[in-house]
Symmetry: C2
Subunit: 209 residues, 2 copies
Amino acid sequence: MPGHASEAAVRRLPLYYRQLEELERRGTVRVSSGELAAQMGSTASQIRQDINFFGAFGQQGYGYNVSELKAHLAKILGLDASYTLVVAGVGNIGHAIVNYRGFADRGFRLTALFDSSAALIGSSINGVPVLDAAAMPAYLAENPTDIAVICTPAHAAQATADTLAAGGVRAIWNFAPVTLRVPRGVAVNNVHLTDSLLVLSYKLSHGEA
Amino acid sequence: MPGHASEAAVRRLPLYYRQLEELERRGTVRVSSGELAAQMGSTASQIRQDINFFGAFGQQGYGYNVSELKAHLAKILGLDASYTLVVAGVGNIGHAIVNYRGFADRGFRLTALFDSSAALIGSSINGVPVLDAAAMPAYLAENPTDIAVICTPAHAAQATADTLAAGGVRAIWNFAPVTLRVPRGVAVNNVHLTDSLLVLSYKLSHGEA
């Protein structure tokens, strides 16, 4: 790829990938940038620019082969690699993550869950063990881990992030409503569930619903 | 406001609002568009353009008063109104939504939960009753409802959306991994939890973590 992708372009990649999954499910063999634009509320030129940037090209008068483009984007997204994943905090969100069936399909291997509740430690969920949060440093030392999901209460999130970063975790998917400070070299993606609720609220109050 | 806000600009509003909440919490009285840009990974001109569009203006050499701008955006986002909210499907995500403490603060009033599990019907969570999903049409007829959160399994989501739309719900916050078809006049916002995980996967595989 020439140069460095913008954060905004990287954030659009999963949307393209999902749309191609959906098209493949429906049996669609090829799609034009104009059709993708209409389906996704974007523009054909934006879509061509993004897809070209990530090294795939449509054919004039044909468009894109759905399966080929999907496979290409999977590779760009790193979905051909296998990443190990742990979840810190097994409350409602933690449970929802553990029960989400889409991870394994996409090469994410959930290896351990951590909680500090005596009622949970020693149990397992979908075959994944719940370990004592206090044992996290020892676990990470023995089991190199790529990605951690933080689903702890807000007050515990920063200390959890510190432990994860010290243990060599390189990416944090953060559901706690806290802005985490992490060392350089650790990627953080914060999930703010209510942002999309506020968009709905805007639409309701402006009669756009 | 002059003209119609773009979907992209509307989606940035909650991010500005959250950043202003954070600044207010830290005791910050004023902030420049350049400071906001640095904090949010945006550009000063993008921020000024968005904020101007929504009818607020900074002062040359002063910037924005944090509390005033936050109050202005709250109004634009419709957070001065009070919306009624129901949740359809009380699994893990549904529980997480019910337990989220930020709704009431922002004017969202959770009035009822719906599920089809006999074990849940008749119980209550945080004081909100769990009603039989089959009773939803009758409930909506008697209790006009603005927003519904769909947290059902994928196979039940479309039928739930149909019932909600027929019952006068004007906005659907959809956590089911399904593209919903809704009548004109109903806003839908889909939450795709894994998009942000794929962004992390991209960063890991490109050495950007």
